[in-house]
Symmetry: C2
Subunit: 399 residues, 2 copies
């Protein structure tokens, strides 16, 4: 029997899913994640101002710091749907609450898919009932939950960490969906984390926000911030208490590891992606500068297409840097591919082996490092290459 590394791995959680017909493909499109009892929860949401109805409702519900269940559907995002959309999101919560005997505000609704369509509530209600009827803490149930929340994703994205804290095993697991419209900002795509650690909602939110900022908020596929982004964590408290001191540090490190793994998986599964691009900036004057410079390079369609073509075209890297207002002197900037210097002293590095460069560019993970030589701050942004398939996927998405 294989180990359960899904979101049902931590003690106290079950998942269920169903295919109710929202997705035309007939695939799984409703997922529920249910804690055995109301438990500490925290979330961060998209900062996009046209946020979806489930975000509006979810923000209110998570404010109390306790959640029992997350109900997610894919295929329709319930975004830009006005009052009717809000009513539909509330009804979603009410349906689940009645079945579980929970309070409506302990349910977090979420929807992902096409913007500007109303939820087919009859189908969705059937789906929620079916999903809640087949709850299980099995590995398969956790796996199916992820499949139920996927849209253009090609890969299932999951991560699990087990750490000893206070001589007790603590498990943190997470899953997420997202491969297009990816540029989280103080929030992120749909990501759900569970843990059996004991921790109150306030500390949990602080740790989640910091972890999301270091991981999910450092990924961009197309610099388009979704209207439905969210990361939610639920802590069942079935294992040891981790609040404060060394226990909290250990828990925090494991939480960050799970988030980082999921963030990496999102970049790897970026729409049409064939490679992950890791842009590291060091020697920046301020952390803000480091982030801005790394992001400028990571979002450049010219850099992304060059990597797709296996072309070490560093000219496009400095073009992108040149567009920023970050502090540096052009002649002090060093650009490296892996550890090979491409550009230094304002001119091309001499003696570059084209064959070596081509080999570095052919890897699945392309590491671009920029030293601004203007200070000590550093940052890192993950992205993916830009391929014809990104265009195909997005030109044909709705029609």
């Amino acid at each position: 029997m294989s180990v359960n590394d899904t979101i049902t791995a931590p003690a106290g959680f079950q998942a269920g899913s169903a295919a109710c017909g929202i997705k035309e493909s007939g695939g799984l499109d409703v997922g529920v994640l249910v804690a055995d009892a109301p438990c500490a929860a925290a979330a961060v949401f998209t900062t996009n101002r046209f946020c979806g109805a489930p975000i509006v409702v979810g923000r209110q519900h998570v404010r109390g710091g306790k959640l029992r269940t997350i109900v997610v559907n894919s295929g329709c995002s319930n975004v830009a749907t006005g009052r009717r959309g809000i009513a539909d999101a509330r009804k979603t919560c009410r349906i689940a609450a009645e079945i579980l005997g929970a309070h409506e505000t302990q349910i977090l609704p979420a929807s992902t898919g096409v913007i500007g369509r109303f939820l087919p509530m009859d189908k969705l209600e059937r789906g929620i009932r079916e999903a809640l009827a087949n709850l299980s803490d099995s590995s398969k149930a956790g796996h199916d939950f992820v499949r139920a929340i996927m849209t253009t994703d090609l890969r299932v994205k999951q991560a699990c960490e087990r750490v000893k804290i206070n001589r007790t095993r603590v498990t943190i697991a997470g899953c997420c969906k997202g491969s297009g419209m990816i540029a989280p900002n103080m929030a992120t795509m749909l990501a759900y984390l569970t843990t059996d650690a004991g921790i109150g909602p306030r500390r949990l939110r602080a740790l989640l926000k910091a972890a999301a900022d270091k991981t999910f908020n450092r990924v961009t596929v197309d610099e388009c911030e979704s209207t439905s982004d969210m990361v939610v964590v639920m802590a069942s408290g079935r294992s040891t208490d981790v609040a404060g001191g060394r226990a909290e540090s250990r828990f925090d490190a494991a939480l960050q590891a799970v988030c980082q793994s999921l963030a990496y998986q999102i970049a790897r599964d970026g729409e049409g992606a064939t490679r992950v691009i890791e842009v590291t900036v060091r020697g920046a004057k301020t952390p803000r500068d480091a982030h801005q410079a790394a992001r400028a390079v990571a979002v450049s369609p010219l850099v992304k297409t060059a990597v797709h073509g296996g072309d070490p075209n560093w000219g496009r890297i400095i073009q992108a840097l040149g567009q920023t207002s970050v502090a540096y002197k052009p002649e002090a900037v060093v650009v490296m591919l892996d550890k090979t210097v491409l550009f230094r002293h304002g001119a091309p590095a001499s003696g570059l082996s084209e064959r070596k460069l081509a080999a570095l560019m052919a890897r699945k993970h392309v590491a671009i490092t920029i030293d601004l030589n203007a200070g000590r701050a550093a940052d890192r942004v993950l992205t993916c290459d830009l391929s014809r398939d990104y265009v195909r996927i997005n030109a044909d998405y709705r029609t």
Copy 2:
């Protein structure tokens, strides 16, 4: 005999070109534009901080307000080439100056093409000599000049306006290149304008800057600001004096018309483009808001791929708006395709004819209008759709 509508149309200008072997295709790659005598000139340049060596030298030379000649090569941009690049740009000027008997500072150098390679000066010198040996004010000479400055451009981009000022005919002509790395910022791609109007360099610069801001700076293909952008205008004074009052207004309008035509041609010839997208924002609180909102929609790869796929996916338009900090209330925003309302009161417009929408999306010119209902400011940005060909062109550009 057809009318000459090229940059040699205004009295006092000749052009020449040559194929010196910088372009591997063997096509024309050196162009010279020569005024009969030193004349009033003005220019605006890229604000990219890794600007090319020709920009550094050109800025110094145009400061005096007089130019005799512009020397342009394509195939190599002489950007990120350090001191040697600066020396090469100066030598380019010296070669032309000696042949013409002009002062070195009356020559404006320009280069466009791959970043990070040194200019092959032997080839270039031969090319400049040949181009200066075949000077002509013919339509063919003007046309060949444009071909000589093209890189990934598919179309020749030219415009010409003739106006009566002080009962005298004044001609303004222009040409430009540019289809990728297009996001001019207080400057633009390579664009050259000639006129036989009489006007001093100061007024000329003021008019050029304002015109470029309204036209070239409102075009984006990929939001990548080139390191080599410039717009240069030379005024021979062979026709009437246009400085001040009503004459200047008439001249200004014609200058803007030429710039606007060229800007539109750049969007139409964007790399891989099949359609021009015109994003108009009105009802904005401030002009800055109007520009920011229009730009946010115009740069969105999701909007651009939707237009490419003929999909009236307005959800992606509001997603892009939601990412900005522009003043509006989401429920007050109206989104239109041509004159058809797609989104109003925070929800999809009712009774939309899919067939009508598909017909509007199938046009070569797709007009998206957004009313923020937050004020009276308006702006407009031109862009093009994002196709597989953009990726193909940029993945394979250098290799």
